[in-house]
Amino acid sequence: MKWDTCDPKTAYVLHLADDALILGQRLSAWCGHGPILEQDIALTNVALDLIGLARQYYGYAAELIGDGCTENDLAFFRDSRAFTNHLLCEQPNGHWGDTLARQFFFDTFHFFQLEALQQSSDERLRHIAAKAIKETSYHAQFSAEWIIRMGDGTEESRSKITQSLRHFAPFALELFIPAQVDAAAHDLGFGPDVSVLESDWKEKIQSILTIATLSPLEWGFPKKGGKSGVHSEHHGYILAEMQSLARAYPDATW
């Protein structure tokens, strides 16, 4: 396939796109299942922003690849090993607390990542990031408020959110451990060194946990591999659901 051997820039744009698409797809599954209407709508809005962002990145990657490649080819016709999203993004939705803990870790990272991308040597990435950071600051505010509400809530909500945060903490560490895809991007100047984002991120996370009256997290041993295309079992199921229609009917249009 024409995207199997792509240059470091295209590989990096696909990495950014995959995070947005996989998490957007995960969140979409909440549509019609949110605990109350407002929260159902809120998560669907976040999902929509992420899928819109994924389209920006895939569209750019398709242009870089050329040869008639389209955003749909990249979203629907790549296999699991070609995806380089973080493991965190593909983890199951679980209950409301699980989804919000995963979102809180990702949104906060996403904000700092987009802030850093505005210093990218690549103009297109700078422009996409400048647009997306406005939306992402709303996502981050939303997920942080839910951490506070659940942490400083009832005994049950507190115990559940504590468990959710602990469960996702080792996955969150992958965000800050460079793999080939983001290390190359940093060497070439179009992406940040993700390891330097960790201290700002941990500080923000901690400040919210304090407001939520929760104890500091023990981070545990990192769970990583997603950025190198080595995914958890869940990834194949996401793709199966998301890609089946496009693969069964390759020329389908609305």
């Binding site: 407002e38 709508i41 976040v46 929509l48 819109g52 389209r55 904000f111 709303y138 505010q141 408020e145």
Partner: protein, 160 residues
């Protein structure tokens, strides 16, 4: 001969599908208009990255310009990113009259994480005693508020 003014006049008639009292000109979505003898080139800013109304807006633009008889080329312009600072004052008044509280303040200097929520005036009874119900309303560009004076829930067009 089609003039720039003809095009702009037609664009002023293209309403946002989600907020039907505002035209795309009121919203500040029209970034550039170039008219030649053979075609019309438009730069249109998307509001939100994933805004599902953009396709409808593009269709409506083509429909509105069809009587001018020239091919229309629409280029989405994501940079500089669209901001509610570009919304016209007339647009803000129309928004409030329609029952949606207009954006408070300027977005240009706001880029912090977890900024405090602004004081939003109830579009019905004009009370400042209002509370945020949900950051995300019926569309991505709106939050849901409730007035504590008249009890009415209402949409607030986010300062973005």
């Amino acid at each position: 001969m089609v003039s720039q003014l003809d095009v702009e006049r037609q664009l002023g008639e293209v309403m946002d599908p989600e907020v039907p009292v505002l035209s795309i000109v009121d919203l500040g979505l029209v970034r550039s208009v170039q008219v030649s003898n053979s075609d019309i080139h438009l730069g249109i800013a998307p509001t939100y990255t994933g805004c599902p109304a953009m396709d409808v807006i593009h269709d409506r633009i083509r429909e509105a310009l069809a009587p001018l008889g020239l091919p229309v080329h629409i280029k989405p312009e994501i940079h500089p990113p669209w901001t509610t600072d570009w919304m016209s004052e007339a647009g803000k008044k129309k928004l409030e009259a329609y029952g949606i509280a207009p954006p408070v303040g300027k977005a240009s200097d706001k880029r912090s994480l977890w900024a405090p929520s602004p004081t939003v005036r109830c579009p019905r009874c004009k009370s400042d005693n209002t509370a945020l119900i949900s950051l995300f309303g019926s569309t991505a560009c709106k939050s849901l508020y409730q007035c504590r004076s008249c009890d009415e829930p209402f949409d607030y067009f986010k300062c973005f």
